[in-house]
Symmetry: C2
Subunit: 199 residues, 2 copies
């Protein structure tokens, strides 16, 4: 008997992700969301509950739609170091050019926001970090079996180092860093993990 929603919450959430990603969630008001999505305040609150929950939902969706596929591709790529290099080349390209140029990464950006301390947000941040580090580690293990890694390298520490590099790329790209500079930095780290023959 009841009425049904006049909009698609999935589509709306995608629009909210874009909004929070580009402008920043803290400086984006509900009025902005209403204008960008065409959905009224009432429907927004009835569907998502409030800004904090909308923010958490958008962050979770970003992780699933933007980050996770790339992480899984990296973890499944068996090439070793070339897979990691390709990951960073795609990352830098996505951060510095194209539709999302200079937007940074929503997860990285969220690290610095005021509500980063909330348990619900912190959990997603940690999930993102663990997923990326695990993917990096898988790629490093593949590199190891192919004899691409120098002796004595700790894969866990190396995976953490590469994950940190990715965060920094996201951060600096939003502030206008040049793609070439970022890639050179990444390449230096990667070369340090390789055998002298591989680099």
């Amino acid at each position: 008997m009841p009425d049904v929603k006049h909009f698609d919450p999935e589509v709306t959430l995608d629009q909210v992700v874009a909004l929070f990603w580009q402008r920043g969630a803290e400086v984006t008001g509900i009025a902005d969301v209403v204008q960008a999505t065409g959905v009224s305040r009432s429907s927004l609150y009835a569907t998502f509950g409030g800004k904090a929950q909308l923010q958490a939902a958008a962050l979770g969706r970003y992780l699933e739609r933007q980050s996770r596929p790339v992480f899984e591709a990296l973890a499944a790529d068996g090439r070793g170091l070339p897979a990691i290099a390709a990951f960073f080349e795609r990352l830098v390209a996505a951060r510095c050019s194209g539709v999302h140029a200079r937007w940074g990464c929503l997860v990285t950006n969220t690290h610095v926001t005021a509500n980063a301390g909330l348990p619900e947000i912190r959990e997603i941040l940690e999930r993102h970090h663990d997923a990326l580090r695990a993917a990096m580690r898988a790629a490093l293990e593949a590199a190891r079996t192919k004899g691409q890694l120098r002796a004595g390298l700790d894969p866990g520490a190396a995976a953490e180092a590469l994950t940190l590099q990715a965060y920094a790329v996201n951060l600096r790209s939003r502030a206008g860093a040049e793609a070439g500079v970022l890639l050179a930095g990444v390449r230096a780290v990667l070369d340090g993990f390789a055998t002298s023959e591989e680099r």
Copy 2:
């Protein structure tokens, strides 16, 4: 003949730095500044001009008082790789424990804020980046003369990589990352730059 200020602008600016650094400038209102400093709105506006300029002034002061001394110490330290290691050990300690634990770095945090695009802010961000990278490069050159670096290492790219690592340490520490994990990541990068005898 005129009246003189009833407060010390230098002291006030230091208090503002602490406020913006810990809480974030975007979510800190002028009312918060008034309460924390004890200086009235009128005096604040008469002295600093407005929030945007207050923010730029605080950022500039952070760079001079917090960052610059450490950068200069790094650049002047002639030990080479141990100097860089010491820099990161102090950094991680300052970010994860003590008075400023989990505050991150004001400059790093500002990369993600909405007004990071303003020319006045962007300039300070770039100044900070150049200063840190130059200090890293100086330390790497010292390492080179001491024969600590592996053959074929590009000092510029390596300096950029280490600078990026520092940003990531700042970012992740604010979100609660463990000191040991951060140090392990840094160590992995540093080891990759060293000769097999040095690491």
